[in-house]
């Protein structure tokens, strides 16, 4: 029976899987890894496993690099900043809501 919904992809990808998934060269992944795109505190046990957020970050960095004609370091920085900004906005919204009712 065909499912009528999509299942979220729960697996992590290895380096090969990531290269295949995004259609890039291994050297590109290594470059972004060295730029700290996947987080500077990697799990010591499996540094070359990539979760959904990792893959998303790389996909976004590649797209920004291409569209805005940025070199890798700039694209990596931009991705980090956008993510941090989104996170902070959500946090502020949450805190404002809490403060609004507590007052």
């Amino acid at each position: 029976m065909q499912r009528d919904w999509c299942e979220a992809d729960a697996d992590t990808l290895g380096l090969e899987g990531l290269v295949e998934a995004l259609g890039v060269d291994t050297s590109v992944v290594v470059e972004y890894e060295q730029l700290g795109l996947f987080g500077t505190s990697r799990r010591g046990a499996s540094p070359w496993r990539f979760s959904a957020p990792d893959v998303e970050r790389l996909s976004r960095a590649l797209r920004l690099s291409r569209d805005l004609e940025l070199h890798a370091a700039a694209a990596a920085l931009l991705v980090e900043l956008l993510e941090e900004r989104a996170r902070l906005r959500r946090r502020v919204a949450c805190l404002e809501q809490l403060a609004g009712r507590g007052g």
Binding site: D4, W5, C6, E7, A8, D9, A10, E20, A21, L22, G23, A52, P53, V55, E56, S59, R60, R63, L64, D67, L68, E69, L78, L82, A86, R87, R90, R91, A93, C94, L95, Q97, L98, R101, G102
Partner: protein, 315 residues
């Protein structure tokens, strides 16, 4: 088919240098790129800018396009000449997905510009899509199948880029957190040739909730309590994501005190907790009797709320 004026789309003169064109593109890309733009029609505008740049940045394509434009009069129905592309060197793969019919006819797959050299195929992986998925806290708590409306910029037959709607059913695991990324392989744009399908990345965005504030898997509820409930202790009913539960407020509780209901937050391993912050609310002094009781407390309790401030002197 509509003729597309790529020079006016980039806002440059017909004799613009390569440097002018690059500068114009970068300025417009910064303005309209969906990831960084504040404009309302960012996606459509960006696609148009991208297409214009694709042609004007490539000397071969630009030269061919200029020749075309010379004979064109505005308002005319446009048709590519029969000897289109002859005399030009073969170049790389044609445009990315989603460009206009005008582009596809002149520079896309099947045009002289993408008749690849022998042994050189035309494979291009489809684009990845990034989208936000808004969920209520209840939906995040329960998980289940969720219908998503996605918009993707696509060029219509008249060449105008518009947003095409698409519906997708996604199964969300119970206990997704705000900011979590869900990857749906193969749900992005289709590729060309043997290029694979792009992926879809959904970032979960939790909508603000009437009662609960959320921090990862923990939720916080501000609970109004009467002064005697906090001072003397009480057992009260408290809403949680999974239903109402009883909470024992210890006597001697202070305003702002945080109580924890373990495991009552969003599910997971480990599940989050629910925090209850006590918010002391005063009975209104709106009847003579109420005022009497407040006066009695003032007289008999000898309570100084500002003791910790030390001596306070008027300026």
């Amino acid at each position: 088919m509509q003729f597309k004026d790529y020079y006016s789309l980039l806002g440059v003169a017909r004799d613009a240098t390569a440097e002018d064109i690059k500068r114009a593109y970068r300025r417009l890309a910064r303005k309209y790129h969906p990831d960084v733009s504040k404009e309302t029609d960012a996606e459509e505008r960006f696609k148009e800018v991208q297409e214009a740049y694709e042609v004007l940045k490539d000397p071969e394509k630009r030269a061919a396009y200029d020749q075309l434009g010379r004979d064109y009069r505005p308002g005319q129905e446009f048709r590519p000449p029969p000897d289109w592309g002859s005399g030009f060197e073969f170049s790389g793969p044609g445009g990315a997905a989603g460009f206009s019919d005008f582009f596809e006819q002149l520079f896309g797959a099947g045009s002289p510009f993408t008749r690849g050299r022998p042994g050189r195929g035309f494979d291009l992986r489809g684009e990845d899509h990034h989208a936000q998925m808004e969920l209520s806290l209840e939906q995040a708590y329960a998980g289940g199948v969720h219908t998503l409306e996605l918009r993707r910029p696509e060029a219509g037959p008249d060449g105008r880029v518009s947003l095409r709607q698409r519906r997708l059913n996604v199964r969300i695991p119970a206990g997704v957190t705000d900011g979590q990324v869900i990857r749906l392989a193969g749900q992005g744009s289709p590729g060309h040739g043997r290029g694979g399908q792009g992926d879809l990345y959904l970032t979960v965005s939790l909508l603000p909730h009437r009662l609960f504030a959320v921090d990862k898997r923990d939720v916080t509820l501000s609970l109004p309590v009467a002064p005697w409930e906090a001072a003397l202790g009480a057992t009260v009913q408290v809403p949680t994501l999974g239903g109402t539960v009883e909470l024992r407020i210890p006597g001697g509780s202070r305003a702002g005190q945080k109580l924890r209901l373990k495991g009552r937050g969003l599910p997971g391993s480990p599940p989050g907790d629910q925090y209850v912050v006590l918010q002391i609310v005063l009975p209104p002094a709106d009847t003579p009797r109420a005022r009497e009781l407040y006066e009695q407390m003032r007289k008999e309790l000898g309570f100084d709320p500002r003791q910790a401030l030390g001596g306070v002197h008027a300026a």
